[in-house]
Amino acid sequence: MIPLHKIKFICLVLSVVTIFSSCKKFVEIDPPRTELITPTVFATDETAKAAMNDVYIQMRNSFGFAGGGFVGISCLASLSADESVAYFQGDPASTQDYKEFSDNSLTPDNTWVLGLWTDLYNCIYKANAVLEGLTTSTGISAGTKKQLTGEAKFIRAFCHFYLTNLWGDVLLITTTDYRVNNTMPRSPKAQVYQQIIADLKDAQNLLPDDYSFSANARVRVNKSVATALLARAYLYTEDWVNAEMQASTLIN
């Protein structure tokens, strides 16, 4: 016969084992209340719109490429074009990067060059994330889905347009998968334009004519904006016929 204390011991071990089996569930935690997991973001119209708003927020941010700040494309390009002059005051090291623009002597280490590149691709990532979120989403109304897809495609085209105009052959990014993007080679300029034009055509089809979506405030892209950029894209690719056609549509 097994002595009593051994039985007690076995019981204990068993109870301990039972406790352990619940460990796994214990460490599965809810997302923090300060964040929303991606599927939740694209579950409602409101949150999906907010995700798109973030792209505009970034673009108009004074540190963004389109923000009109000192590190934006307007300022830097105007330095290169001698429309502006880099005026030095204080520590020369901190103005060195501007001087490279105005002297047309850009080095690969220039902070603002990297800043433009990074900011543009960051916007592309966000636009792609919205596109992917909308594709898999089921809870968003058809109208919002159409509108946001159009806006995201426009933004993606807009960013690629500036990228290819600044650097020529650039990375063509159409997914959020970092494994793909991290090793992405440069695509020829023509191929980038192909994608830009395709995105803009989609945007044209998806976006409304008016500003009803933004309560008549001219703060979000609509069909006309897409058409304008499309005309420009055709113009830059020397597709005169289409360029004229799109431009005419807009003017008329």
Partner: protein, 1097 residues
Amino acid sequence: MFFYLSKPLLIMKLTTVIVLAACLQVSARSTAQISLSRSNTPLQKIFKELQKQSGYDIFYTYEIVQQAGNISVQVKNVSIQQALDACLKNTNLSYQIIDKTVVIKEKKAPLVETGTALPRLENVPPPVNIDVAITVLNSEGLPLEGASVFLKGQNKGIATDINGRAILKNADPNATIIISFAGFQNQEIKIADRNSIIVRLVARTNELEEVVINKGYYTEKQRLNPGNISKITAKDIEKNPVSNPLAALEGRVPGLEIIQQTGVPGGGFKVRIRGTNSIASGNDPLYIVNGVPFISTSLSVSTGLVYYGEAPSPLNSVNPADIESIEVLKDADALAIYGSRGANGVILITTKQGKPGKTKVEFNSYTGTGAVQNNVKQMNLRQYLDMRREAFKNDNTIPTTANAPDLLVWDTTRSTDWHKELIGGKATYTDAMITVSGGEKNTQFSIAGGYHKETTVFPGDNADKKINVHASIANTSSDQRFKTSLLADFSSNLTNLPGADLTPYTLNLAPNAPPLYDSIGNLSWKNWSQNNENPLANLKRPYEQVTNTLRTHLLTGYAIIPGLEIRLSAGYTSAVMSSILLKPIASQFPFSGVQNISSFGNSKFQNWIVEPQVNWIHNAGKGIFNVLIGSTFEEQVREGLSQTAAGFSSEALMKNLSAATTRTIGTNYFTQYRYSAIFGKVNYTFDQKYVINLTGRRDGSSRFGPGKQFGNFGAIGTAWIFSREGFIEKKMPFISYGKLRASYGTAGKDQIGDYQYLDSYSPSTGGTYQGNAGLTPVRLSNPDFAWEISKKFEAAIELGILKDRILFNLSYFNNRSSSQLIGFPLSPATGFSSIQANFPATVQNTGLEIELTTRNIITKNFNWTSSFNISIPKNKLVAFPDMEKFSAYANTYVVGEPLSISKRYHFTGINTTTGLYEFQDVDANGSFDFRDQQVVRFIGQKFYGGLQNSFQYKGFQLDVFFQFVKQTGLGPYPFTAAGAGFYTEPEYMLDRWRTAGDKATYQRFGTSSAATTAAARYAASDAFITDGSFIRLKNLSLSWNLPAAWLSKIHAADAKLFIHGQNLLTFTNYKGLDPEIGYRASLPPLRVITAGIRLTF
């Protein structure tokens, strides 16, 4: 066969009797008249009667009296001797009378039966081997279990049982036995023909023998411990007049590198156990206070400039005076049971508990002052003005009021000693603590309350105040099976500091910088500017920080059967911090647009932990099995919110958020961390000589994604106490203690942020878009990363020589951390710069640690002991595949070199014609950038340690502790070109180039960009790496215990007067303010001298 002593109560007396009997053969004469008339009665009963009639005590063992069986006796009015003769006539028993005591024993049997008897001299009857019962007690008369009993000259021994008893069978009655037990002096005793012997062991004076160390989930005797754990006790901690326990550990623990980051009260410490294991951040050890994990990073959400960028230490809430001991766990054997959190080592803090005895009231108080130890000799006014003029002349520039207000606007005859003015004050220290403790055998308690106040060396009314309350209660049921203890401590810390550390100003401000106050005593702004602010503006920007910490821990245990105990350990910790930094208009340079700005910070930490455990101890012959199984459930929640508010209409309302017109959220976070584990250990100790310890843990952490949450960690530790081997005892008796030990195992690290695996969005930080809020992707999610693994190996020898008067420990360790959790750098095309991942890089830490403790002089009145420790660490990045692809890493690290290297320009000297610093242009392209920074230099500690000498003369005790560090450091100066701005420079900068052909240490004074560029490169060159080694008289403590005669007059049990000094002297070649602070312009650790008294009633 078992022996029973029929009257356990008489054991004490018996001892005396037996000892006497061995030496004396006394025949007692008695006049007592005894009458007995019994037939066929047990001898025991007859003895009882005899005892009653004669008044003699009769000692016998139950065993032999039983053997004698029943007897018949008939005597009348006889003496005790006659009565005994009659009783024992037909038995195998004899007796002896000593005073009024009779001892019954077996008659010596005639030599025949056994052939084992040795040949004897004729006429001397050779003794017959006997069985001897030995009872081993400590000085308090309590039985000692596990003591070894063996015959002198034989290796084989036996261990005593739970009652402290062991039976030595078939022993030569003339032999000598040796009894040994850890923590006690060995005792030799002659059997001298006795059947039972009681031995009282005397505790060894050497403390290390008795040291029981805490390994977190279990304790172990230091002598049998196969792991590496350093223990610091209250005795050493209390000598340090510090408010953070970490400050008391500096230099005292081998393998523990502690660097104080600032002398501002409440400031942080850099703590590393056996080096830096991880490339990314998260190299802090795990702190466990009374069994409950505590935060290792600061609670602060907004440190600002107050601590000069170094967050306040989380351990400020632990009152050093409450601490009983601190254990530092360093090797795999000790750490594997902490699994995924043990890779960086563990610091266990145990607070004081009540001890059985009379209720004791202890009052301890000290007061003292602190000051900055050292001053960097700056240029005087004359030298400074000459430097500036020379700089302008060298660069052919004309001083203007814009670039040279110091020469043209400021009073050039007026000079201020900024060091004295800004950090030359005296900090005062006040500390008082009262403890009531006591209890009896089953219940003990301790209640303590403490107050600590520390002011600063800055001008103005700033202070760090702390109140600590600590209570503990412990109970054991009367059958000793059920144990409960509860510990609780609460600390409230209020810190008032100026808005920024004033130290940087002392290193910068020109000697003739404008006056601080105007003629009517208000803060002056005249001639100051926005970029060159009146330093005292910081005094008008008060920083107030309140931290409340509550820690509780409950431990219960129940012994189901002897040896099998179930335990439950549970704890709850809560820490809340709130801080406000005010920046009123009055503190800002009068300039249009300035407004009242307040920064608010609130953070909260909560932690609960439940750990059920089962412990089983089993004696199997000479071996002891000790098995522990347990599990952990733990949750930590951290919350934080920082806000900046502006536009208050009144300075008086600046602490009221609702009075602000604009509010900006800096950060708002909530993180939850859950952790669960199964852990266990199997320890087998054989004959107090061989130890094997297996520990393991399987744990899961919510910081990892689904499927990656669980990891396994384990270690094996072995120890061989070779000094217990017969051949050592015989051949090398001078070795009183010797142990060889080794351990190998794994531990992990999960010190990364929470939710890193999660694909999520958070509110946009860049404001709104046309009033519409945004949601921004937080990170690139990688669900596949897991633990960082650290494989740890250690081998060590521990030696005690000449009755442990010399103790020597030597440990070697080799730790390798791989699967490094780093932000894997990504192409910007991915949208992010990095992703959390396990990178196959390996970091190795190896090192030697030596400890030597000697008791140099031990006499009745004078004792002198020394202890020395040194750690020689070596850190190396062993592997980092494809490093050249990741510029962020390639510019910082080199495979084969330590992590803490710096890649620098090579300084080639001063150009004899331009007088400027020159550097090697590695790629010879005329420009200087990171490609030219190719000199790899190590920055860090090469070795470190401490030397303590303790002298005791009668009631006086003097402790002198030196800390030493051999290190390379940066700097200290110059950061900028001397003379370029209206900033002062150290006097040694006068050794500069002046004219062509000059050989000087520093370049010419200059204001041009050529001069500033050269100076900036100098600071990034190998010339800027200097020797930062130092030897510091870290602690000096002198105490005097009042003589007993005086104590009785004041009705005190104990009274002590003491003087403590911290950071008294520093010997260094380093030119900066302090070698520990290095090139950072932060307030150095202060020199503190305090005096106090401790009274115990």
